[in-house]
Amino acid sequence: MSAAQGVFLGAFTVVVLAVVGFAAVVLVSARRIDGGGFVGVALRRMARSRRERAEAARWAFYAHRISGFGIFAFLCLHVVDVSLYAVSPSLYDDVHALYGTAPMRVFECALLVAICFHTLNGLRLLAVDVADLGLTASLRLLGGVASLTVVAAVAGSAVILGPVT
């Protein structure tokens, strides 16, 4: 491994740790806010009645924040590693060779999930405003967001992981 690759992996580790830390803060505060936001409790509540399914929108809010922070943190690093081309194309190639490795490809799949969910959920929130959607309609849209995210993530992951499987 070259020195540049080592520096990149160090910075990448910092980004991953920051995202994990942020997710922990969001989930711990979720627990404090809605009285024990454990996934099991939330699922039991959602199974109870249609109104309780609003809990899904709450978890979408947390997922939106975590995915947003994750995308932003990685983007900061990515701007730097892409700018390496201006310094030296061979340095750029050296660092970017890492993106083709199996562990980085798995990370790219996670990034794809985050981008798909964040984008589609953002569009859902816009639609709530533009089309004046109430609780039921917005939850239906959230179902669509989740389904489309899964489809896009599976299809995209097949393309991303194809070369190493």
Binding site: F61, L125, G134, L139
Partner: protein
């Protein structure tokens, strides 16, 4: 058996010191709000779940706990006060206002009038209860009722609050408010209405 009956039984038979609030027992005073298994409810109107042996009771989220299930509701009422929560009539009115029962204005307002200030919506809001600066669903619902009222003259100052730093833009459509309101109000719809009114004004 309602959750409030359960609390009274606990107080009578197990722990005379347990702290909780109630007054009317008929969903009118809004003082008995707490969280049952994480959901913000009125203790006097919510049956104790029969399908399990234990339930979890927590105080309202987002407000400072004074003791056990008793919270300090002052922050909630401070936000409420920000929207000038009473009718400010136009100057020089001589005739009583006529708002017909079938008018759009009446239909819009009637559905949002019944707020009892129980703070269940505030507690269930991931933004307000998360202690981020947010006026909150109840106050914004109240603002909507008055902004939509043609007899009122203070719409501009309410819309300024709704448009401000802790206003409607804080809402992330978590819909906790509309899902838990014990009076069946839809504060999220009020927030959508205010977002639109702001664009029109």
């Amino acid at each position: 058996m309602m959750v409030l009956d359960l609390l009274l039984a606990i107080q009578r038979e197990h722990d005379a010191c347990i702290g909780f609030r109630f007054s009317c027992r008929v969903a009118m005073c809004g003082t008995c709000t707490l969280r049952l298994d994480g959901r913000s409810v009125l203790a006097c109107q919510t049956p104790v779940p029969q399908d399990r042996d234990t339930v979890r009771l927590d105080p309202v989220a987002g407000l400072p706990v004074l003791r056990d299930l008793v919270v300090d509701t002052a922050p909630f009422w401070r936000e409420w006060a920000k929207v000038t929560p009473y009718l400010v009539p136009h100057d020089g009115l001589t005739e009583p206002a006529v708002v017909t029962p079938d008018s759009d204005e009446r239909r819009l307002i009637d559905a949002s009038l019944d707020c009892i200030g129980c703070a269940a919506c505030y507690s269930s809001c991931a933004v307000a209860a998360g202690s981020r600066d947010f006026v909150g669903p109840a106050a914004l619902n109240r603002a909507m009722v008055l902004v939509a009222d043609s007899r009122d003259a203070a719409a501009e100052q309410r819309l300024a609050v709704a448009d401000g730093a802790g206003g409607v833009d804080r809402c992330h459509y978590v819909y906790g408010c509309s899902a838990v309101c014990p009076k069946g109000l839809d504060p999220a719809a009020a927030i959508r209405y205010l977002r639109k009114s702001r664009l029109k004004s």
